[in-house]
Amino acid sequence: MKGDLSIPPLRDLPPGRLAKRREHLLFEITRERESRGALARPWPSRWGRPGRRRLGALAAAVLVVVVGTASAFSGVRAFFLERGFIGLPPEGATPSAPESGKLVLHWHGRSATHARVDARAGYVAPLVHAWVYADGRMIWSREGRPPGRAIHEGANEFTSGYLEQRLTPDGVELLRSAAVALFDRTRALLETVPDDSWPGPNTGLALFVPPRDFWGSVEIPKGDRLLGLQWQPTTWCAPRCMVKGTTATPEQLSALRRVEALVSDPAAVLPSSAWAVREIRAYVPSHYAVCIKTSPPKDASDLLPLLPTRAADVLRDRGRTRFDSDLLEAREAGRIVVLGREVTYCSKLTTEEAREVIQPLSGFPQPRTRPAPWLAPSRNWNTLEYRLAEAVNNLNPTTISFDPYLPHGQFLLNGGGG
């Protein structure tokens, strides 16, 4: 029991954070002072007339309350939501607006731009997601923090969480046209596929690229569908290719690298005219996907009793979508073994409804994983997840997770990381 009673040693703020926090503090102070200064100005002489003095005092008092409240709120919001978060936002955080948006581009892959050599892990590249919308929103998440280019807005040391910036129409077009150029250069490849069966990011056709271009996929809308293209290193084709594809030409590689650089490091690449709001803020969704995952498959009605009554009540009569998948395990020589089947039930809840589900779950354990042999097992880093039941037959435990809905009405199960 002695471990239960120990407390850890004192620590410094993470490197660079002290200066950043000081900078934000002084910014907030200046802003508040300006608000107060505006109130302290003498009222125009016409307010001095006796008949209006009382009304003026009342109006000033109301103004003080309104401005003071707004100022306090904006202060809290600025501090809490200057960084991404995992799970639900603090109560009172303003959701991203508008609630829905038309997707222009989705990029997902390991970023060669941010790749670097690590003493223990070798050549590593963070996983990046980026969604660009017609209304100018660019929502993105990035795994980890490249040295010297710290994402101070990150949710934790290992992921930025979902962040938001705003592009001008020119900025949106710049990104869209770069992606279209990539597709144009692969048209011959894509045209081999019938128009009604365009591949998605995880199936179908691929460009085979040098290993240090890593892997990824890009999607752009084509009518009411998404047109997807993926790329993967040639080394993945040993002993055999799992997808149909072709080796990337120099032109295709160049187009691919341009898109990658644009979406994974836009602040460094895009001109100032591309930005409506360059400041990075947390993306605050309006809805969450609340998903229960179990293996072997069970009916949803058999899973609800695993939840506390209050949480089950919120989910009981909600519409839910069922996803079935194989549980795969990689073995030697590229052999893939199917361990069993897994089922996931997802319901779309408002943020407040999701809070009602989470509240009684506070005592439930959070699953731990060991992503690399030299690391201690850790709770999931990119999603809020609780374990409802232990694994059976060497399959996965039963879990419930909370992932944000994006403006185009989709979500990434378990944060889509890893």
Partner: protein, 215 residues
């Protein structure tokens, strides 16, 4: 060649503030008159202390970092309150206690989104001490679980006096209560913890245990 005669080493110029340690009271007064840089110096001087205090109240480093910002912003809003000279740090502890308390109230109302942020996947390349910080949070969570069994007022006194090593007088300033009340609350807290503590030993060179704190 630089002015101090050593190639490659530019001369270091020391301003008055950097050469002579200005005490907190002076900085506080200057901040009160609108000198935000003075307040920035106070922040740099005490952020680490408040950061660790907040961590020991919430067991989450990221949340503690957010709370530090809130503590200092709140302190700036209250600069016009009279503080005994030299007692600026206890005053900050008092604000921190209130900020943590308010956060706990809000948490009870809805969820622990910030307090239970899932732990990051430990990829060592991005932060060398992250694994230790994860361990810190688990360890602190367990210790807080035990201390949480005390009444809230006793928890606060215990956190200030035992974990942050404030004197009774400073804790009294922080909490706005008489020194005698600090003594009695701490005494009760220690007595209760002795009952709850199953008899821990010293856990490693750098660890402090509740047993140490209650004795």
């Amino acid at each position: 060649m630089s002015a101090d005669g050593r190639a490659g080493n530019p001369p270091r110029l020391f301003g008055h503030e950097q050469a002579v340690e200005v005490d907190d009271s002076v900085l506080w007064s200057r901040a009160h008159t609108g000198d935000s840089q003075a307040f920035g110096l106070l922040f740099e001087r005490h952020a680490r202390t408040i950061y660790n205090f907040c961590f020991r109240r919430v067991a989450n480093w990221a949340t503690a970092e957010d709370l530090v910002s809130l503590v200092f912003l709140e302190a700036w809003r209250r600069l016009d309150k009279p503080i005994p000279r030299g007692k600026e740090l206890p005053w900050l502890f008092g604000i921190a206690t209130n900020v943590v308390r308010n956060r706990r109230r809000a948490e009870r109302r809805h969820d622990a989104a910030l307090g239970r942020v899932p732990r990051p996947r430990p990829e060592p390349s991005f932060a060398d001490d992250s694994v230790q910080r994860l361990d810190d949070e688990e360890l602190m969570g367990r210790a807080l679980g035990l201390v949480a069994r005390l009444p809230r007022r006793e928890q606060e006194v215990f956190a200030l006096c035992a974990w942050s090593e404030l004197s009774y007088e400073d804790a009294a300033i922080a909490l706005g209560i008489p020194v005698g009340t600090v003594r009695s609350r701490l005494s009760r807290a220690r007595a209760r913890l002795r009952e709850l503590d199953p008899g821990s030993g010293h856990d490693g060179e750098r660890m402090q245990t509740i047993k140490e704190a209650v004795e």
